[in-house]
Amino acid sequence: MKKTLLVPILGFLILAICTFYYLNPSPEKKTKQKKIADEVFTTQTFFKNEIVDKNNLGDFYIVNFFASWCKPCLAEHPLLMAMKEKGIKIIGINFRDDEENFTTWINENGNPFEYIIRDDGTIAYKMGLIGVPETYFITNDEITNKIQGPLFYEDVEKYL
């Protein structure tokens, strides 16, 4: 084999490897956070005035960041309601919201959440939130899936 042939082959290989890793980032890179922030389990919840009871949640639960000013949250709301009816416990974290707007929003659209925590941004910062809505799927206290932006039927199909 000619030595000059080595250059394009080597170049192609490097390009192929880089493209492969660019298109398939490792799952650890997607969710850097493995655990839910401790504040979720130490902050008083809004309607019930108690702390989140881990035993009540079970092995699988969902943490959902939402706000009344957020339109995409309204779009995913029916899916959350459907999951509640299937018995899945959802912790709602109300991100930087006005209390009055938030209670009206819940009264108008229904409450799919087992617990609601009002957050001034501290929990969101610890969880690495980029924007609302954002949803974390938690199995045995570990984040197994994270969806940024509104949920679609395909995302939660297996739970319905």
């Binding site: 080597l10 890179k29 850097k32 930087r96 690495g128």
Partner: protein, 102 residues
């Protein structure tokens, strides 16, 4: 003009630091320039930590551990391979074709 006047009240070290943090939901803006909920919250959290006595470096390390390196406009310097790879490839090519042309 509003963001400039409100930012002036803050520590200049903090303002310089805001300039080096990327707003992840904007196109190429830093969090000082941006008024998105993401940037406003990040500025609040950073300011709170700074006032609690954490140094900029400690805050930066925490931020990178949460959001990853893409949050910062200043990458850490361990990218030597990336920067030197074009020169290495160029030398390799010269080495392989040296007999034909030189």
């Amino acid at each position: 003009m509003l963001f400039i006047s409100s930012a002036l009240a803050e520590d200049t070290a903090l303002i310089d630091y805001y300039k080096s943090i990327r707003c992840l939901v904007c196109d190429g803006q830093n969090i000082l320039e941006s008024d998105t909920e993401f940037s406003v919250n990040l500025k609040e959290q950073i300011k709170k930590k700074f006032e609690n006595g954490l140094s900029i470096e400690e805050i930066n390390n925490e931020l990178i551990s949460i959001y990853g390196e893409e949050i910062s406009f200043k990458p850490s310097s361990n990218h030597y391979l990336l920067w030197t790879s074009p020169f290495i490839l160029l030398l390799l090519v010269f080495f392989l074709i040296r007999k034909k042309y030189f």
